[in-house]
């Protein structure tokens, strides 16, 4: 006698198929979602690669300029012209060297690394204020515009000491602690300023003892 198909068997098979189909769809969805995160065209990954390369180059430039014992970056921070109230050889206090080449090894490295590839960069020095309650202060070494959203930055810190002198050709033999850090002429707008005799230098004596300040050189590239 012919065996009739068992409706329970067919139902179980259909249920199993349904569950498996759901798993397939969910797995595919999960895989698709994950693939989106790591796809080169999403999440800025391609741009991230370029930024990582720029970051590495900026780090290397500062490490090369500051990593030897001849104090090139320290000299740059003290290459100050009191009469022009900006760095010696710079354009003006607002943009510093602007589009001009920076002096010393840092200028050579920045020129060879970024200028030659049509990259723009700003260089600033950031230093501690004399009054700890105030925020960090900064002076433009070279300002070439407003950085884009994809800009990267690299930093290097140098230590200045009380008995150091300015390194510009026009500077005298006065030590750093002898300079006035108030930008007003003759201290007219700086009632709290102590009356030093050796002119203006923006970096104050912010540390007790032999250390004068810790200055951060920051390069922003875009």
């Amino acid at each position: 006698m012919r065996r009739q198909p068992d409706p329970d068997d067919r139902g179980q098979a259909f249920t199993l198929e349904g569950i498996i189909s759901a798993i397939i769809v969910l797995t595919a969805l999960l895989y698709a979602l994950q693939a989106v995160v790591i796809t080169p065209t999403t999440g800025g990954t391609v741009d991230q690669g370029v930024r990582t390369e720029l970051q590495r180059q900026a780090d290397d430039v500062l490490s090369l300029a500051g990593g030897d014992d001849d104090g090139q970056l320290s000299e740059l921070t003290r290459n100050w012209s009191q009469s022009r109230r900006t760095f010696y050889g710079a354009v003006n206090p607002n943009i510093g060297f602007g589009n001009q080449r920076l002096p010393g090894e840092l200028g050579t490295l920045l020129n060879g690394t970024f200028d030659s590839r049509d990259r723009q960069y700003n260089v600033v020095m950031r230093y501690l204020p004399k009054d700890e309650s105030k925020g960090i202060q900064q002076t433009a070494i070279a300002s070439r515009g407003t950085p884009s959203d994809s800009s990267v930055s690299a930093t290097y810190r140098v230590t200045l000491y009380d008995n150091m002198t300015l390194t510009s050709p026009t500077a005298g033999s006065a030590e750093l602690w002898q300079y006035d850090t108030c930008p007003a002429v003759n201290g007219e707008d700086c009632p709290d300023s102590e009356s030093y005799q050796s002119g203006y230098y923006p970096v104050p004596n912010a540390v007790d003892g032999a250390v004068y300040n810790v200055v951060e050189i920051r390069v922003i590239v875009w």
């Binding site: 999960l30 994950q34 995160v37 790591i38 960090i136 930093t155 250390v211």
Partner: protein, 344 residues
């Protein structure tokens, strides 16, 4: 009678096999998809992990390098700050000022991001001795009765005394009181090599320059060089063989290999000014720093705490140890570094 049920039964058998084949294929597909997800996840996580660590590597390297350089610079300055300090006072001063530097650096890092840094002076590993004449006078030894012009600021000739490495040797010559006649300074190494400097004021004692003539076992005959003065003073680094305030250069003491057995001054009454000599030996129970005032080698006995202007000895830190810490959201870095203040 025709069995109408046979084809239907065969058809149901094929359906079941078809369903089984379908289920098998689907299970295989799930396994492949699952493995793809797992492999993909592993690669993704690994990339992100190494990337974050690598990004901070230059920052840590810079922090470590600059911290060591600054600590050495501070120790160098504080060793020479006050010649009347005891070694305990020098240690305390170094510890305090490295702490102030650490605070300043931490403020600088905190202003730029969420990084904490700390630098601590942990201990002095090796003491040295600074032989110093801190006020202007002739390069003589103040013996009882009269000053001795021929003497040895360093003489390690005693039986139990080791030769000394030289870390610093700077003369600050007062040209106005320097004679046109020559004074001689001779350095002899443990290996028997020697280098000799002869100093005199130019133009028979009335000129604006200090003449330096160098000879010795490793120096071929050279002409004397004239080192210009600034405000009547000439600052010479004898180790590197250069003047700080003019362009004159000559063979430095580094031309002969240390350690050194003896530094001898002859006719010291022809030369005037100040000097600093720093060696790695000290006057502790385990080491000794000797001199010779003309009566034979003996241990130095003129301590700078007396405060008189003549040559005397003062303790310095030759090598110290610092602890460095760098902490961020992704990196926790700590290390210990030995700082050798003077490079012999």
């Amino acid at each position: 009678m025709i069995d109408a049920g046979r084809p239907e039964e065969e058809s149901n058998g094929f359906d079941r096999r078809g369903q089984l084949l379908l289920v098998g294929a689907v299970v295989l597909a799930i396994i492949i998809l699952g493995l793809s997800v797992v492999v993909n996840t592993v690669l993704f996580t690994e990339n992100v992990g190494t990337g974050e660590a690598r990004v901070e590597a230059p920052a840590i390297e810079e922090f470590s390098f600059e911290s060591q350089k600054s600590a050495r610079s501070l120790m160098l300055r504080l060793n020479a700050a006050d010649r009347t300090d005891t070694i305990a006072e020098v240690d305390e001063s170094i510890s305090d000022q490295i702490s102030a530097y650490s605070d300043a650096t931490a403020r600088s890092y905190a202003a730029s991001g969420t990084v904490f840094v700390d630098i601590e002076y942990s201990e002095t590993l090796d003491e040295g001795t600074r032989i110093v004449q801190g006020t202007d006078r002739k390069f003589t030894y103040p013996a009882s009765g009269s000053d001795e012009p021929d003497w040895d600021p360093v003489n390690q000739g005693l039986g139990s005394v080791n030769p000394a490495n030289l870390g610093w040797m700077v003369l600050n010559v007062n040209l106005r009181n320097t004679s046109g006649d020559q004074a001689t300074l001779e350095i002899t190494s443990e290996g028997g090599e020697n280098i000799e400097y002869r100093f005199n004021r130019s133009d028979g004692g009335n000129g604006p320059n200090l003449r330096v003539n160098v000879s010795g076992s490793t120096v071929s005959g050279t002409d004397a060089v004239a080192c210009g003065s600034v405000s009547g003073r000439v600052l010479l680094d004898l180790r590197t063989g250069q003047a700080f305030s003019s362009d004159c250069t000559f063979e430095g003491i580094n031309e002969i290999d240390g350690p050194y057995e003896r530094i001898r001054i002859t006719n010291g009454d022809n030369l005037a000014g100040q000097y600093d000599i720093i060696v790695n030996e000290n006057d502790s129970s385990s080491e000794s720093i000797g001199f010779d005032d003309g009566s034979g080698p003996e241990d130095w006995d003129r301590d700078c705490t007396s405060g008189d202007g003549g040559p005397c000895i003062s303790p310095v830190v030759w090598q110290g140890q610092i602890d460095l810490a760098y902490r961020s959201a992704d990196v926790n870095f700590g290390t210990v570094r030995n700082i050798t203040v003077y490079d012999p």
